[in-house]
Symmetry: C2
Subunit: 383 residues, 2 copies
């Protein structure tokens, strides 16, 4: 595996048998020491702090212990670290990309016709009994941004059982769960029979709930169909059609607000959020709860152009995945990516959904554990 | 109040009696229409969407209805909006700053000697009985990043009652609450008797819990003192001492990770997070749970310089507010700003804290409601 190993005081360089080359800065190497003096044996957490290393830290000596093990002796303190060659190869910053499960790079962007073959509804009984089925369902939330379950018992609170299967309930001022049906004088338009345009929930909340679930308990109205839109796809279209509009929506934060008798929630966040590499990581869109738009006067006019452009992309029919939630159906979706909407419905008949919020960190952790249990080969990827 | 009112098709301009001037872009004005056709009467949410306005929207006519009311007639659809002059003054983008309760601009940054007069412990009984006391305590979390309660009953679970007084529990893999005391083979070093350097909790969780509470149930050990550091202050010092180091830590995301038998949490986030105006809004620091550092090779060396610089600032004695949590004491702090640490302690004696997480959005909402109830004058500031 190792071909040539050489070093200067502040860098170790390895040439691998396959012709690749890795560099290791001395301080990085010391900071990533895997010995028991540096890492807690039970939990792998670091026992060392970069502030503790001597200012003049350098590599004094490198000993090849075997074909696949190196010992590095640091100066001036004489600390010895033994590294497996395979570990170095898998963790070097020269050849490996950082972990990323949130940005557009880790997703499959979609539009409505990607599902022209029909939507998969995972049977809830199978979901409960099979780790593979649970894994695939949660994987769908990670990749597509949503998953559909069928045959979930039409009982109040079942949505909370679904959350407990992968994570934790995020309680809010709407309660642990909330009922979505027509009420007189609703505190939120969601609780009326009006159609709702594409939106993400709770942009006025920071941190925003990152997972939403909607469970259908009754559905006999005319209308009231569900619509999902891939917000990452919509943002990517905006970037392609008008990079300057994309830049305006990523570069300027907006205030959102929700108030009622016992609540006053306010946030200041962008419509489209990027990571350090300029990749889309989160979108928010909710015309109902945008507070007064206060931007520098010179920005207002171009900002509205960009905002309207984005709003119109979100309304394009080809992006809208429209389907009927029937009693027992439950959708789980990534509220930082997927916009949802519904068509209006008549007062006659009954439409009753129960909703609840949860978070992606718990869901992805459960997915990772299911992956290591159901695909043993994946363990090697862990760091 | 109004002095002169004039308009061109795409802008209304008001000169106020005090000499100030406001401009209102036609589309902004239409989007902020307060009439019942545009806003739901019960909850104030927008019924209109920017994508619905005609492409050629403009101001056709402006009628001064009285000293303090204007009617704007829009072309081509003839929509009429009546605005109160006072509303226009308070909401115009020319003279008003956006709402911000998260960035460094909304905080009082501190170091240890700011508390040389002693720390205020709010009596829990008074907290429960007085809205003013609750308001001031939550205000302290918003401004200073932390608050201390005293005389909280030394009963298991009391920390959850405190959370329910201002918001909602954020349950995690550690449970609704977690016990901090020495255990054999801890899954996390927090559950050992080792000293812990300055850190924020759960950087491997995204969204990170934004509020942490620690409630002392027993404390008879030698050592085990609590330390708080204002992370915003530390980051501001870094920016002052070395803007290039500050830029490296804000511009490059890191991976964090926590694993045990049933959990695998991973994130990709910056150590110091800025808003669209370059102001510090969130900090994370936790040397124990930083995963393999994978950055472009050219960045590794300067990044480590910046990282060490920041780590050493966090260890400066003048930043460390050190105090003893006695039985019945409970600290609440903003986990996106305040770093905490503890000194190591001997195995003899007992040290038992209960911790739990919550979120800032609920806390700030409760604070805002208490402010409008206890200071009626503040209502006028609401939008």
């Amino acid at each position: 595996m190792l071909n040539e190993v050489r070093f200067v005081p502040d860098e170790l360089v390895i040439e691998w048998a396959d012709g690749e080359q890795s560099g290791f800065y001395a301080l990085w190497l010391r900071d990533h020491c895997q010995m028991s003096a540096s890492r807690h044996s039970a939990n792998g957490q670091r026992l060392i702090n970069v502030s503790d290393f001597p200012e003049s830290l350098s590599i004094g000596q490198v000993n090849r212990l075997s074909e696949d093990r190196l010992e590095v002796v640091f100066e001036p303190d004489g600390h010895r670290s033994i590294f497996e060659a395979q570990w170095l190869r898998r963790h070097c910053y020269t050849l490996n990309e950082p972990w990323d499960d949130r940005s557009e790079s880790a997703k499959t962007l979609w539009q409505a016709d990607c599902f022209s073959g029909g939507l998969v509804r995972t049977d809830y009984d199978e979901y409960g009994h099979s780790r593979e089925v649970r894994r695939d369902c949660l994987q769908s939330v990670q990749t597509l941004g949503f998953a559909l379950l069928g045959n979930v018992p039409c009982e109040s609170g079942a949505v909370l059982d679904v959350i407990r299967s992968f994570g934790f309930v995020r309680e809010t001022n709407y309660g642990e769960l909330f009922d979505v049906r027509s009420v007189v004088d609703p505190n939120n338009l969601a609780f009326s029979n009006l159609g709702l345009g594409c939106h993400a929930d709770n942009p006025y909340r920071d941190p925003v709930p990152t997972v939403q679930l909607l469970h259908c308990l009754a559905s006999s109205t005319e209308g009231g169909d569900s619509i999902l839109v891939d917000g990452f796809r919509a943002a990517a279209i905006l970037r392609e059609e008008a990079p300057e509009d994309f830049e305006l929506l990523t570069g300027h934060y907006l205030n959102y607000r929700f108030q009622d008798a016992s609540t006053d929630l306010r946030s200041r966040v962008p419509m489209i959020e990027l990571d350090d590499r300029g990749r889309i990581t989160k979108v928010r869109y909710n015309n109902r709860s945008i507070d007064t738009i206060l931007l520098p006067p010179a920005v207002i006019k171009p900002f509205y152009r960009a905002y309207r452009h984005y709003a119109r992309i979100l309304e394009r029919p080809e992006l809208k995945l429209t389907f009927r939630l029937n009693p027992g159906d439950l959708m789980v979706f990534d509220n930082t990516r997927i916009m949802h909407a519904r068509t209006g419905y008549q007062a006659g008949g009954e439409r009753h959904l129960q909703g609840a919020y949860a978070d992606l960190d718990g869901l992805y952790s459960t997915l990772a554990v299911l992956q290591r249990e159901t695909r043993p080969a994946a363990i090697g990827r862990a760091s």
